[in-house]
Symmetry: C2
Subunit: 317 residues, 2 copies
């Protein structure tokens, strides 16, 4: 109630846009009665609007004639703007329905490297086939970075992974599990572990290790701890191609997810399945509390559908 210093060009002293729409009808029909009929109103209702508009603008807008009304120069000027406003309103509604009908819209996806190299492109292609108007953008990012993007509003959806045995500092996010990604032991050919099947991590107590990203390294450490040893980590790399090269060179062994090996398999290494080793969980993560846009929902569906075979495959396992 205090006399706030108000902006001298506030929205408050704009012309009432509804009267503009009414005036556009008057201009279109050339009579108050015609406009009234178009609006489903009576004639005095329209007359009141026009009168108010003339009062507000301080201009005579129409001249009453025996057969309807004719616009003055000011009236023509105003009618042109009014017509533009109705066009805008139509365009606004059209744009919104384009968004809901997936004829337009943008969705920014973030995914970790091996997902980007395997099922993500197929999901995007599927979505693109269904909704060619969508603007789908992919950013490669490890889970922690992806969560940061989501929180900052720089991504709408993220393909992430996590391990049951690694604590997760995620803020509250909505997550949909896609599938379990089996962890495989990667060893050089003719390695003593290569021949065996169904071993567990305890068999590798004496090995030198090549670790991955911090999260994967934490998983390795935790898993090894579960088997009662501290892994002897000699090298580190995020890159699953580099990891395999290092293994092939005999610098150590590694634990890699099946997805990474599917993305790029070095023929010079061999893989060993581990007995009852916890897989990594691949999930879709959305920002908390903000409802997904139609485009985001469509991308979510595409990703869920594309990964359906992987859920089948790992379910019995």
């Amino acid at each position: 109630m205090a006399g706030e210093r108000e902006s001298h060009d506030s929205v408050r002293d704009l012309l009432d846009p509804r009267r503009m729409l009414v005036f556009a009808e008057v201009a279109r029909f050339g009579s108050l009665a015609g406009a009234a009929q178009a609006l489903g109103w009576t004639q005095p209702a329209v007359a009141q609007h026009v009168r108010r508009l003339e009062r507000d603008t301080g201009c005579t807008l129409v001249v009453r004639t025996s057969r309807g009304v004719t616009l003055t120069e000011a009236g023509h000027s105003l009618a042109a703007h009014a017509e533009a406003i109705t066009a805008r309103l139509r365009a606004a509604r059209a744009d919104l329905s384009a968004l809901t009908d997936l004829r337009a819209g943008r969705v920014r996806l973030s995914a970790f490297p091996s997902a980007c190299a395997t099922f993500v492109p197929a999901a995007i292609a599927l979505l693109w086939e269904r909704a060619p108007g969508l603007d789908v953008r992919l950013t490669e990012a490890e889970p922690d970075e992806a969560r940061r993007l989501l929180a900052a509003g720089d991504a709408d959806l993220a393909v992430t992974f996590d391990y049951d045995n690694v604590p997760d500092a995620s803020t509250q996010t909505a997550r949909i599990k896609l599938f379990d990604d089996t962890m495989l032991l990667v060893v050089p050919p003719a390695h003593r572990l290569a021949a065996r099947s169904d071993i567990d991590l305890a068999a590798a107590t004496d090995q030198r290790w090549i670790a991955g990203c911090p999260r994967c390294r934490a998983h390795l450490t935790a898993a090894a701890a579960g088997c009662g040893f501290l892994p002897d980590i000699r090298h580190s790399t995020d890159d699953y191609v580099v990891t395999q090269t290092l293994v092939a060179a005999g610098l150590g062994i590694a634990l890699l997810p099946a997805l990474a090996l599917e993305a790029a398999r070095d023929p010079r290494v061999e893989t060993v399945e581990l007995h009852r080793h916890t897989p990594r969980r691949v999930s879709l993560t959305s920002p908390p509390d903000i409802p997904p846009s139609p485009a985001t929902r469509a991308l979510t569906s595409a990703l869920v559908e594309i990964t359906a075979p992987r859920r089948m495959r790992t379910l019995p396992g």
Copy 2:
């Protein structure tokens, strides 16, 4: 009241533009409370508008966060249109004030030939000096044609003339008298009437005449009838240059208004003032019932001012 088949894309199912304006404020401030303050309202009022807008569009437009609201993709789309609408409203008001401030606008003037050749250009120049933004358009037309233009809405103002002794078939028009235009007898040099001064038309009973436009011809006939004779009209022309050429050639004498002689004076003719001859009345004529636009009023003023000396001159006469 019957269920008229209504247009399937009527103005009635457009989004309420006032809500759009409110939403534009919400988008600008990023919070309902901020928008409310800008509008001079309370926060729930704004919240209601946004809710209604979301209901009408069927889209979630904003996400309520702990620190205000953030717009969804649909919200951004809508806000852009809303911003365009506020811009239109501002532009509409600006255009109207440009019209009233004479920074814009159009005025179409019609004037008879000798007026076009004398004071009309000066009046237009005066107006142009005062209001460079105006679009002033001149059409040369005799009074009857001018009145037709006014009635058809093809002219806003007309410079016309009329004679007291000639009946006027004008529909109702608003008229401002500018000045009296003295009628002069035009004779060849060394004509017997040339030497005399202060004669009246009766002195020219025996002359051959060159008549002008129908209206001027009617005036001549009526004036002659007042003096008891029927003029012997041999030639007719609208053009006052032609008239003087014919007079100079000795084909007859003529009655020309002073304005015509001021516009173009053939040195081979002489003029004689007539005693108590009714002048022609030069006036401004406007369309009936339609209020003049600011530009028309300004042109009217300019014409009145420019012709002030002529009123002075003829007043005592």
